[in-house]
Every structure is written in C-alpha cells, then in structure tokens.
Symmetry: D2
Subunit: 407 residues, 4 copies
Amino acid sequence: MSKIWQATENHIDLHPLIESFTIDEDRELDLQLLPFDIEGTRAHAQSLLAAGIIDDEEKESIEATLSELLDEFNGSAAQIPEGMEDCHSLIEARLVEKLGPVGEKIHAGRSRNDQVLTALRLLQKSRFRSLERRLDRLVASLDAAIQRYQQFEMPGYSHGRRGMVITVGDWLGSYYELFAEDQIKVIDAIVELDRSPLGAGAGFGNGLGLDRRISARALGFSRVQKNSLACMGSRGKDELLCLHALCQIAVTASKFAADLLLFSSEHYGFVSLPDEFLTGSSMMPHKRNYDLLELVRANASVLNGYYTAVAGLITGLASGYHRDFQLTKKPLLDGFKRVAACVEVLILVVENLQVHPDAIASALDSDTQATQAALELVKSGMPFRQAYFQVREQCHGANCRSQSRKA
Amino acid sequence: MSKIWQATENHIDLHPLIESFTIDEDRELDLQLLPFDIEGTRAHAQSLLAAGIIDDEEKESIEATLSELLDEFNGSAAQIPEGMEDCHSLIEARLVEKLGPVGEKIHAGRSRNDQVLTALRLLQKSRFRSLERRLDRLVASLDAAIQRYQQFEMPGYSHGRRGMVITVGDWLGSYYELFAEDQIKVIDAIVELDRSPLGAGAGFGNGLGLDRRISARALGFSRVQKNSLACMGSRGKDELLCLHALCQIAVTASKFAADLLLFSSEHYGFVSLPDEFLTGSSMMPHKRNYDLLELVRANASVLNGYYTAVAGLITGLASGYHRDFQLTKKPLLDGFKRVAACVEVLILVVENLQVHPDAIASALDSDTQATQAALELVKSGMPFRQAYFQVREQCHGANCRSQSRKA
Amino acid sequence: MSKIWQATENHIDLHPLIESFTIDEDRELDLQLLPFDIEGTRAHAQSLLAAGIIDDEEKESIEATLSELLDEFNGSAAQIPEGMEDCHSLIEARLVEKLGPVGEKIHAGRSRNDQVLTALRLLQKSRFRSLERRLDRLVASLDAAIQRYQQFEMPGYSHGRRGMVITVGDWLGSYYELFAEDQIKVIDAIVELDRSPLGAGAGFGNGLGLDRRISARALGFSRVQKNSLACMGSRGKDELLCLHALCQIAVTASKFAADLLLFSSEHYGFVSLPDEFLTGSSMMPHKRNYDLLELVRANASVLNGYYTAVAGLITGLASGYHRDFQLTKKPLLDGFKRVAACVEVLILVVENLQVHPDAIASALDSDTQATQAALELVKSGMPFRQAYFQVREQCHGANCRSQSRKA
Amino acid sequence: MSKIWQATENHIDLHPLIESFTIDEDRELDLQLLPFDIEGTRAHAQSLLAAGIIDDEEKESIEATLSELLDEFNGSAAQIPEGMEDCHSLIEARLVEKLGPVGEKIHAGRSRNDQVLTALRLLQKSRFRSLERRLDRLVASLDAAIQRYQQFEMPGYSHGRRGMVITVGDWLGSYYELFAEDQIKVIDAIVELDRSPLGAGAGFGNGLGLDRRISARALGFSRVQKNSLACMGSRGKDELLCLHALCQIAVTASKFAADLLLFSSEHYGFVSLPDEFLTGSSMMPHKRNYDLLELVRANASVLNGYYTAVAGLITGLASGYHRDFQLTKKPLLDGFKRVAACVEVLILVVENLQVHPDAIASALDSDTQATQAALELVKSGMPFRQAYFQVREQCHGANCRSQSRKA
C-alpha cells in the first residue's frame, strides 16, 4: 500500500500486520469524516491562495476535484479504497491523480494532525447542531404530552415508594426540564468547540506564515485556536467535552426509560406503548417486552464507558500528537450515533405513550395524603415536627403499617 | 441514636449495623456541607416568614441560633456528634434544643432532599469560584514564565520524537491556552449550577405554597429550578457536570506533569526543580525524585474514576430521590480537593521551574530543520510533496538514519 | 518533618505544600497496613540474620521492638504521628529510636517499594480470607432461606415482566449460586497473590544476595515472585485483580438489592424487612424506606469507579516504581471495606427477610402458564413453533392483551 | 421483517425505527457467534432426541442442515440477511425453510436466552484458548530475547530516573513474568466459564425435563450451571470476567509499549525497530514514528472503557434477562480482538527488537553505582542508614548534584 509519506520508488512497505493494526477501523470511520475533511481542504486552499503558494486557477481546479470527490462519497455504498490509509490520504492522492503537481501542493503548510483536528471539530459542531434540533423535538413532544395529562393525579415516588400526590404533567415535566438543561450543555459545547485548529500543522505551526483567520472564516469558526501545540493538546479533551454532553443526555434518557419500564410493568400498569413498539419472546408466547426502553437505559452505560476510554487515552500523555488519539474517534462517532438514536426513539415513545388514568388513580392510597395532612396542621399553627409525629400515629397505609402497629 | 424522623418516645431504634452502614462517611463529609446548609436554612426561614409560618421574632431567634452553630463549627476540631445522622439533622436538633417549638417549625415545607441539594449547589458554586481564582493564578504564573523563556528555541515533540523547532514560550504557552480553556468550563458550570432547588421538598413541592424566589434570591441564585421532581433528577447530574470540569483540568495538569517528568529526567535535563520539591529513596542514596509531578499526573485517573462512579450511580435509576445519591458526595468533595491541590502545586512548580537552555539547545539536531527546509523549497515554487521527498533523501538525523540508509 | 531518606543534619526540608500533597491520605490509610508491615519487617530481619547482616541478639531486639509497636497500634485511637511520612518510616524511626545502630540496620537490602508491596499483599490475602468466610455465611443464610421457601410458587421475571412459574427457592437459589461463583474468584485471587515480593528492593534486587525464600516462608507465601522489576510491575495489577473480584461480588449484591427493592415496593409486596432495618423521611410521616438496599445497590458503582481509577493509574506507565501507585491504596482499602459491609448487611437481610406468599400467589396470572401450556402440546407431538402460536392466540393476560385483540 | 416470535400471518410489524434500534449491531456481531450457535443447536438436538421430542432421523436432518449453514458462513463474505434479526433467528428460520415441521421442533425447551449464553460461553472459551497460545508464543519470544541480551548491563529506572544496574535480560524478564502471570488469569477464566447454561431456557428452566448433562457433555463443558435464573444472572458477569483478564494483558502490554517508546526515543536510543514497522509524517520528512507501540499502549484504555461499560450495564439490574445485556457483546468481541492483535504485534516487536548496547552502556553513570556502594559498606559491618548517608555525601551524578551542592 502506498502512503502519502512514502516515495513512490524505493520506499519500504509497512509490515502487513503493522499496517492493518495501525489503520484499525479508520477506513470505515473516516467515511463520516470525509465530507468535513473536504470542507477543511477547500478552506486550506484559500489560505494557500492568499499566501501565494497556489494561484486562482490552481485553487479552482482543486475545488472542482474536491467537489467530484464529495459527490462520489455521497452514496451509501461508498468505501475508502483498500489501498488507502485513511480519508486524509485519499484526498491528497485523488488531487495528485487528477491534477498532478497542483495536487502535490495541497499539503503545504498543513499536517494530517491539524487536518484531522479540523475535520473532527466541524463534525462535532455539526452533530451537536443536529442533536440540539432533535432535543427541541423531544422537548416539544413532552410539552404536548404534559398538556394532555396535566390534570391526572399520580403518586410521586421517592426511594421507589409512594411519597406525595403529583400529576402526570409534573412527572413528564421533570423530563422536559432535565432535557432542556441538557440542551444547554450542548449549546455550551458548540461554543467551546468553535475555534479553528487549521494552520497548526503538526503542533509547531505551518511554517509558511499562513493567515489562519482566512481558513477559520471560510469554515465558519468564530475564532482561531492560537497556540499550535495547544491544538494538539485539545485532541481528546474536545472528545471528552462532547462525550460529557452526550453522557448527560444519555443519563436523562436512561432515567426516563427506567420510569417507563417500571410504570409499564404489570404491577403498575400506568402506561403502555402500542404493539408495533414491542418485541416478543422466542419461547414464551404471551410476552410483550419493552426492549426499546431497556436499550435506551443501557446506552448510558455504553456512553460512560466511552468517556472512561477517552479520559484514559489522554491521561498522562505528554504534549504533541500521539497515535493513541486515533482510538478516540470510535467512541466519539459511535457516541453521537447512539445518543441521537435514543432521542429519536424517545420522541416516538412520548408521541405514542398511552396513559392509563384509572390504574394510576388506584395507586393513590391514603399514605400519599399523609404529608399534606401534616402541612395542613402547620398552616393552622402547629410546629411542623409535632404535626409530623401526630400524622404518623394515624397513618395506616402500606408504608407505615408495621410502624404504627408497634409504636 | 435519635433521628429527626423518629418520635422521641416509642420509636424503634435502627439496627446498629444498618445505622453505621447507611450513615457511611456522612458525619465526616458533612463538615464541609454544614456552613452551606446553615446558609440554606437561614434562607428557608425567610420563606417561612413570608408565608406566615413563623413570625419576625421567631425568624430572628432561628438566625441567631444558626449563627452560633456556624461559629461553633468554624474551628478545625469541630465534629458532628456521634449521636447525629448528618449535618441536616444536627441543624434541626440544635434549633429544637435551643428554641423548642420554634425550632420544630424550621422543617415545614422542606425535606432533607431539597435541603441537601441546596447545600451542595452552594458548595459547588463556591468551590468553583475558588478554583477559577486558582486557575487565574496558574495562568498568570505561566504567563510570567513565557515572558522569561520566550526566546529559547527547543525541539517540539510529536509521537515523543523531535519534530520542528519551537520555543520554550510556545511549549509553556500551550498550557496557558489549555488551562484558560478549562477555566471556561468552570465558568459555564457555575452558570448552569446557578438555580435554586430550595422549596422542591422531597421532589413533590413544598405543600405550603412558599414563594421559591424569596429563598433563591437570599442565597444568590439567579433563578429557581422549577419542576420539583427535576430538582431530584439533577442530583448526580450536577455532580457529573462538576466532575467533568474537574477532569478536564486534571487531564491538562496530567499532560503538563508528563512533559515535566520527561523533560526533567537525566536523558533530557531540560528543566529541574529545587531540592525542597524533591523526595529521596529509602534505599538509593543518590535519588532525587519528582513525586509531586507523578501525583499530579496520577490524580487525573482518580478523577476519572470518580466520574465513572457517579455516572454509574445515577444511570438507570428511576425518578425521585434514592439513597444511592449519598455516595456521590465523596467523589464530588474529594474531586474538588484534589484538583485544587494539583493546581496549587503546579503554580509552585511554574514559579520555581529552572530551565536549562544549553541542554535544550543541544537537542536541536538537524532533523528538527528538515520540515522548514522543505517549506523553503515550497516558498520558491516547488510543490510540497516533491519538496518533502527531496528533503527526505538528504536528512541524516536519528529519525531518518535507517530510512536514508536503505532508500 | 524528618524523613528516613534525609540526614538529620543539613538536610533540606520539603516545601510544606509538597509535603502534604505527597503524603496525601497515607497517614490515615497506613494504619491498616501497619500490622502487615511489622510482620514483613520481622521476616526481613530473619533474612538479614541468615545473611549475617545482623546477629541473633540484634534480631531479637528488633522483634521485641516490633511487638511493642504492634501492641501500641492495636487500639482504635492509634495514629501515625504527624512527623511521620507513612507507616514504613515509622517502623524504621521507632527501631532507630529504641535500638540505635541496630535499628539503622533494618533497611539493609530492602526498599520501601518491596516493603509496601509485601505489606499490601499480606493485607490482600488477609482481607480476602475474611471475605471468603463472610461469603460462606451469606451462602449459608441463603441456603436456610431456600429451605424455608422452597415450596412457594412465584412468577419468574424476564425483562421485568412475568415469564414462567418458579419458586421462591429458585429465586433465592440463583443468588446462592452467583455468590458461590464469586467465592471462586476470591479463592483464585488468593492463589495468584500468594507470592513474596520481599527482597526485590526498589525493583533491582536487594544487592545483598539475600535468600528470598526465607522471608517468603516466614510470611506464609507459597512462592517467591522472582523478577524484581516484575514485582514493581505487579503493583496496581494486583489491586486490579482484587478490585475485579470485589466488583463481581458487588454486582451480584447489587442485583439482589435491585430485586429486593422491587419486590418490597407497594406494587409488589412480595417481601419486607423489619422496622429496625428501615429509615424514615424528614418530611413525609408515612415513609418506611429501604435505604440499606439502595446503598448495597449503589456500592457496586463505587467499586467500578475504583477499578477504573486503578486501571487508569497504571495504564501507559513505564516500568519501575512511580509515586502514582500510591493512589491505588485508597480504592483497594475502601473497596475491601465496602464489599465486606455489603455482604454483612445482606446476611442480616436474608436472615430477617419476611416473605409474603399470598401477595406472591396473587401475581401468578394466566400469562405465567402460557409457556408450559405450549410445552405440553410439544410433549404430545406438536412442533414447538406451532404450539407457540396456538397458545399465543389464546392467551388473555396483561402481556398479550393488545396483541390478541389485534391479531 | 419476520421474527421467530411473530406468526407469519396477521402479525404486527415492528416500527422500522424500533427495529433498527433494537437490532443495533447484532447482524454484524453475530457473524462471530454463528459457528458457536450452530454447535449449541446441534447439542440441543441431542437433548431433544434423548427426551423423545425428535427422533433419530429428525436429528440427522437437523445436523445436516446445520452443517450446510456452517459451510455457507465459513467464507469471509458471508452476511446475516437483512430480513433476519440475529444469528439465532437465522438458524431456526433456515431449519424451518429446509425441514418444515421438523425445523419447527428445534426451539422446544430452549429460549434465545440460553441459546445466546451457550454460544457466548463457547466463544469465550475458544477465544481464551487462542489467546493462551498467543501468550505462549509471546513468552517464548521474550525468552529468546532474554537469552540474547542477558549479559548487557543497563540502568534500572525508578520514578523514570536511574536507580541501580540491572541487565537487559532483567528488564525483558520482567515482562516474561508479568505476561506469564496474566496467562494464569486466562486459564482461571477458562475454568470458571466451563459450565453449560443450555437448558436454562429463559431463566425458568426448559419445561421439558431435558437432561442438561447430555448437551453439556456434547459441548465439552465440564459441568452444568444448575440454577436457571443464575444462568441469566451470569450474563454480563462472565463478560466482566473476560474483560478483566483482557485488561490485565492489555495493561502489561501497555507498560511494555511505554518502555519501548521511551527507550527508542532519540534521548535514549537504547532500542529500535526496523523501518518496515515505522510510520512517517505527512508534513515532516525526517520522521520515523513508533505508532504501533502507541496503539498497543492506547488499547489498554479502550479495554478499560469496555470493562466500565459492561460493569455499568449490569449494575443495579434486577434478576432475569434484560435487553441491556445485548450491549455487552460488542465490548466482549472487540476486546478479544484488540488484545489478540496487541499480543501479535508484541511478538513481532520482540522478535525484531534491535538492542544498542553502546547507547545503553553510556547511560550507566556513577549514580547507578551509589546504592551498591552503600551495600558494600553494609557487608563490611556498617549499619545501612549510616552507609546510605555516607554515600550520599559523595555522589556526584545528575540526581544528587544539587543536593550535594547545598548540603
């Protein structure tokens, strides 16, 4: 296999095992990066034009070739050819193949290091913007459900035991607020990510005095990440930032799924989902399982594992690029994909959630009135702790049964 | 032991093993929470006054008693008495002891759930503000060092091998920028945390119609976290937010420590620290070790473990309070303490760092000039990839030795 | 503060901040290590005697002083003096204080590195042996409960929904088997840990040609861990081994707690615990919470965080001792403590578990018979998949309701 | 898409989004499970024969069809058809397609739950046996290298600083021992995994009174895992056991990689690898990077993330099967693959490692003699601590320079 860092003649081929080991899953993962890498390369061409390294005509031929490549990889069957190490090599190889010496100019003043950083950051911003819109839809669907069920009383649970009376709207409203707060984390992350690493080269600058603001502007970054070595140092840290925001969403989704799994079980019967959402058992004919919610719950642990992996990958690593960073790509890309899927599934769940008010009402036993009874005594002047013990002596529900029996 | 939820007479004592198991490390950890809990209690008294549950005189007596308690726990020898479950119980017990029925009024419309959430959030904001100031000092000390060493050239390392020439200022500047970026995460976290949970009760509201804006304002929160169940749902999620910002700082510190450990080793000799920073060996008389930097590096892994623990604790947990949340306290408190210590140590390190320009200069072999040589050819019109291979044929440093020998 | 690696005169004091930072929690944690360190020191004295470095009389005076020290630290109020760095320094300091030059001989041929490794390994074996006995008691208490409840039918749950009929004995029996399997992990770990690091010095041998089998035998190790550098390399890896076995127990305990929390909730009512195991709410008078089980469930996440921390601490670390290892101590010691406490609590829970057969029986609806009905058809010759669909058409329980309605 | 739990007529199709969400990566991952699932199915047919559910002829036709399927999936281009949910559905569908009612008999007395458990456990044992052989080869290659380099002295490093003199053989020998110890963990794991879950059905038994020893014996399991619900409960716990053993190997590999990266850097120059193992830079012509070792180092963090994910997935989960378990498959399969690759790469590295004795010898400065000098004084009767301080006064190497200057 030929590499961009290998002369066409007299080069020493990488040992095949080392080659496949070092490429790892890049050829597959880089399909997601390619469009952003093409965008970054186009911006780099503008920098080179401004610095006089290429001329207008060369820039246009580069742009045209990049557009062709983008079109070619738009279809779902596209693959990075086996002879290519990654998407970054593919771009230069294609430009050289089509444009000869002009193509050989494209990598002046950049390294794969700032190239991949640029593509990753564009991808991160793009994925987060999509996710933010998805969260908008989830929050809107929750809002609609809250309107529908606001009036129905239900027991609020604390320690998984009945506490006080709330409404179905209060319960759904808690997820409305939690997801809305998670959205803020996404927005904050976009702002933090919004700085251009292009022109940092391998962490030691581009060596050509390129005006980094040109490519930053072309790519829609609001600012330049100045110190070139800091650009390298933020590899992995940015991924951690992304994974943290994703974890937060996944944890909220996981809590919502846990509630729905409990409330849809036979012992509660508070809610249900239509049959086309449920799966069966290969052995037990009667089963209707809520696998979709179990997987929403489970994905939070996958995300947490990704956070751990990325944190481990970058901890204790000295400055500059290290190939270790490559293994942060899969957690990032798969993390975005999983959380997006969980949010989509929850939108569908909320839109199709069947609430059963009668079953819920039958769970409102006298215990759920106990606290309010004490507070009514407070309103009429009794110190709270006295009211609390007075009510306690009287309550007869499942919770206090044994206590009142003994005391 | 008596509990606030146990009548003084006829109550059933908790089994001693269950008692110590459920209290866990609370009596020790709550010493940190106590001042914030007193602040929260004072604000709650204002709410109760506004709602007519207590009168002015009662409020003043409560405030006076809280002030006495705060003074009592200011000293370092203070301890939560063995007979007390936690700091929250202590406060009510003390008010009842001093004020009788007036003290029994304090818990009207609140639960330990919103009480601890309030204290935690005040603590989180306070700890982050201190940390932000510490980071300011670290960044300032880096800035001073950058000024001192800006002019000294050094090799920039990529894959731990010499890449291109940078300056000591560039190297230190990368940490300046990374820590400054981490500071933004701290500031974002403070803004996110800045909402009052007080009045959410046990997740089902306070039942007294308290105006939650009163206590929020008294505590300096900029807004109220409205949905009471969402307040419970953010327990653990806020801790995750805090631990993420702490992890980011710890990772940057860990990278800086890794660089310093490498550059201070005998094989580099680029930097050193004064003897009063170094430790010896019990067996090897000649040793001067940089344990302090090893521990800075190591603390990032402790922090990552805490993130994992907290994420695990809240994943898959249904809505409402669960005692599981209790175990998020230690990671949070110890995380704040460890990161603050690492930053303090790094300030001292930067202020006392001895840079050895001669040793650094001697590491600038011809390899470190290779890339710039290729870029000079680019400036005179040669396509980059051609320039790259031309230089490669000529280089003779440690890196290319074997390659040029063969090619 | 004086250190064993500092001359009494003319030494340079460690900067106070660096001193407290590097000592971290050692003075507190080392209280647990001290008895094992004394045992290791006694064995080292035997090695020195055999090598002629000390004579019989000197060995006896060392042993006597060590015994005094052990007695002194037997009480619960014992503390490592503020002037001491750790328990290892304390031992040598005390020997020197009491015995003068004889005490100054004790550290010949050892380093704090093999000293702490030895103490840790003795502690690990000891803690695991206690844990194994605790698991014996837990398994025995489960066995007794199985005998009591073997005959009561209950629904078996899959996806948290009713599957087929099992017995309470089957359910409890699953934990019997899982804990018994965990016990095997403990036993395997003890066998793996059972090798002596003493005499490895700082990872480069003891330099005195000590016969390492002497101290190994004295300490009850079945073999010597030969390569000195490998001894250093197993620091952290042994802790990981311990934490893995602990995690496995904690996960089983967590699953058992999850079942018990569900089955004791108002919606199930299958089991309950006596009042002296339950906690109340500060706000809600009627509440009886199963906090003890929530904490058993939660501790598994704390353990997993410790595993992550230790794995992170040692990943990517070059050979030889690094101070990073110090931070593996807390996860190890606290992990042992937490899992031991969880097992103790579960023994108490199993011994006091109240099972409510009527409530359980009422949950055995017709759905739980569906699979067996299909299997009866299989016994009379019908292919299973046909039997499965035939039964499915007929079932009327909560699970199939909607499906049969539509199909 | 048709499912084995859906009637061919009148069934309700799963919502397409829910279908793709719940299938996740199963169609890809199950390619690895398929051969083991076929093996398990063949053993189940034997059980059914013994129980009289199928006759000899039916069993033979089932076996023949299974053999065809196995052949079909032997090639690398094989894919689980899009219409199939997983490999388990594929097997039954194929049997029904070929054999009609006979195929419809295969699932009598089993569930996908015990089916997948069986396939996974066979896979785990098989992967571990391969890994054990790989470790044998690694240990053998280390042994050969030790023989080659036994006599060369080198500095032993502690805290990354020179400690005492060891040999290259001692250094390599430490990895020999650590990997040999890791091998024991693999062997222990195989023994623990060696119990058959087949016949446990969905966790509530097979309902047909099948003799589980028959299939266990056919599959080469040494024993039956008796309690059916415990079989479900070990899902995830077995994966954790596997991942722990894999983590241990990955951590040792990571340490070895860290040493090799350091020792092959320009500042050490102790070892090197041939050019066909090294990669270049896209920007810097002179670079020869050791990416392969960086990836070996990095994979340990990926493995730790997988451990965290799996531990999180099963913590707090009540008894019985939950779809959450599905997400443990990827960590397990990818974990096995990554660790196998790392071991293969290290075998190649050890076999091709070039050691440079001159460079190593030049690093043996006087500091590395200091401890032995003190120990020589000990041999002639001086108490060690006195010898230690006497030598310390005299040493002049890099380590003590500043100390001796001041003291």
